[in-house]
Amino acid sequence: MIQILNTTLIGLTSGAIYSLMAMSIVLVWRSTRVINFAQAGLALASTYIGYEAVQLFDNYWIALICAMLAGAAISAFIEITFMRILLKHTSSGPIAGVAPIIATLGLLGIIKALITMNWGGQDVVITPPLSNTGFSIGSDTLVFSPMKLAIIVSVALLVIIFSLIFQKTNIGLALRASAYAPEIARLAGVRVDLVRTLGWALSGASGAVAGLLLTSYGTGAFSPESAEFSLLFISGFIAAVVGGLDSLVGAVIGGIFLGLVTAFVLMYISSSLFFIAPFVILLLVLFIRPQGIIGVKAGRRA
């Protein structure tokens, strides 16, 4: 019983982080129809800025907000200075479909190289602000700790703020309109370019929080070579695909789903399935329900 509870809570925590990454991928996909393969690199860069902010203010939560703002600013900057030109240049021709993928990979390389040049390749540590020793129920100690609770609460808060923006404000309406039909939105007076930049900025913010919380999920140590960040991108991508790639709600559900399934597979089948379990989920979703578990549109297939 205690094991089931433990596994569920671990799954929820990692799932919450995947959800943020998935949201970040979905926001970019919705605004520019590009999968940003540099998303993990952006998250890493924001996390380093969070690290600097921790040195400066000595407060984790202020650093989290700094990282968010930095992530938003970097993403918006990249959209304006780079993606617009790229999409204009490569809208046709034999490699039109491939160009954004390759270009964002190039971006990933540049970001990583710049980070390593600036901060070096060694581990740096952002000390988690709360204890990582588990709560205890009676004589049993859970793996679930105050820090993990804080992760879930932070993610939930962010998701609520994002859904309020999307559902209740005019900005959200413009974001949804431009994603749904850019031409019509433009005719209706929406400044689609600006809205796209905003989509990227929100994506950067979400990715930044995912990156910082990811470090606090463990010991707080990370480096440019951390495998966790590549895995974070893969998990986010899978969660986004599970959720249908077009829907923010789907991204959150997909992330939680992925976290829970992975946690249970690792606990009850074999811990060596760490890489295989998410991959199998991805393949199953792509082949059985390519529109995602809550999506309605078909469009995944060639």
């Binding site: 996909w29 590009v34 999968i35 393969f37 780079f82 030109i85 790229l86 240049h89 490569t90 021709g93 034999p94 490699i95 479909g97 491939v98 160009a99 993928i101 390759i102 270009a103 990979l105 190039g106 971006l107 990933l108 390389g109 540049i110 990583k112 190289a113 710049l114 390593t116 040049m117 600036n118 070096g120 390749g121 590549s230 895995l231 991108f233 893969i234 991508f237 899978i238 695909v241 060596s272 760490f274 890489f275 295989i276 998410p278 991959f279 991805l282 393949l283 792509l286 082949f287 995944r300 297939r301 060639a302």
Partner: protein, 328 residues
């Protein structure tokens, strides 16, 4: 190139082989080793050009297929002490088989989905290799092609032997690939790339075409992986990292992903950039952190600039310019 007959092309390739033979005697050991690496990259890049440029599919997991080839060759060598030529052949077949399975799945996925899925594979597969005792875990397996035959003389070095094997395999592979590109399959890939709906209406089976491209590309990747394993002497999970997949893709884009003509440019660039970066860094007396990351920065910048300004690659660009001038 298109107007040359098969005999003439064969002649050119043999001539190239002879030129490489004399070249390998004239340069120092380091250059010979780099030459072998160039050959490895040429095959790897060609596999991506076949896949991405000709059939329009993006794989970010080509490194994993190289790994399949490398492990197959090493296993065969260790378990059965098979001759190296058989090892290479089996590496090609094993990777092609893996590619066929992947291709069946891939043919149903469009651009970004396929890219993400193959990326997941590239991240996951090396760590799976860790799990099996047969594959040697983190240390991996030794892959020793043996000493060069004594009849080549005393001063025939190991690196020169690598270089010869790699060059010969590469020449054969590229010659074969050129033939494939000129066959009906090559033409139907071009048709699909141009307009897949029209191609399908003309009677081309899209799924079969894409799967075939994936299979052949994987076979080439397997050969490249076995050659890579030969030059570094081992196969291990860390020999086929994600960065390898990215480098090959970068090389293919710099070479011009729609034509085989620039494949050397891509491979030489990949091998030369660390040297160039080293020279630049030492000229400006940069710190160690900058020096070790300059190659990555240069490669990525070059990748983006190529996508932006010469999306079809330098060779195609030259062709286009020449035709443009001829039409005037």
């Amino acid at each position: 190139m298109h107007k040359l007959s098969n005999k003439k092309r064969l002649f050119i390739f043999i001539l190239l082989g002879v030129a490489i033979y004399f070249l390998s005697g004239a340069v120092d050991e380091l250059r010979v080793y780099q030459g072998a690496t160039v050959a490895v990259y040429v095959v790897g890049i060609a596999s991506i050009i076949l896949l991405t440029g000709y059939s329009g599919q993006v794989s970010l997991g080509q490194g994993a297929l190289l790994g399949v080839g490398g492990y197959a060759a090493a296993l065969l060598r260790i378990q059965f002490n098979a001759p190296i030529w058989i090892c290479f052949a089996v590496a090609i077949l094993t990777a092609a088989l893996a590619g066929a399975f992947l291709g069946l799945a891939a043919a149903r996925l469009s651009g970004p989905y396929l890219a993400g899925t193959t990326l997941a594979l590239a991240v996951g597969l090396p760590s799976i290799a860790n799990q099996f005792e047969l594959l040697g875990g983190e240390q991996g397996l030794l892959f020793d092609v043996g000493f060069p035959p004594l009849s080549f003389g005393e001063d025939f070095t190991q690196y020169k032997w690598f270089f010869w094997i790699a060059s010969l395999a590469t020449l054969i592979a590229i010659f074969w690939l050129q033939n494939v590109m000129r066959s009906r399959y090559g033409r139907s890939w071009k048709a699909v790339r141009g307009n897949d709906v029209a191609a399908e209406l003309a009677g081309i089976n899209l799924t079969r075409n894409k799967t075939l491209a994936f299979t052949l590309s994987a076979g080439l990747a397997g050969l490249s992986g076995a050659l890579l394993a030969m030059t570094i002497g081992t196969v291990s999970p860390s020999a086929f990292p994600l960065a390898l997949s990215f480098s090959l893709l970068t090389g293919a884009v710099i070479a011009g992903v729609t034509t085989l003509g620039g494949v050397m440019i891509g491979a030489v660039t990949l091998v030369a950039i660390p040297d160039i970066a080293g020279a630049v860094a030492s000229r400006f007396g940069s710190s160690e952190a900058v020096t070790s990351n300059l190659p990555g920065l240069l490669v990525s910048t070059l990748l983006i600039l190529t996508v932006l300004f010469v999306p079809n690659g330098p060779v195609e660009q030259l062709h286009a310019r020449r035709e443009h001038r001829a039409n005037k």
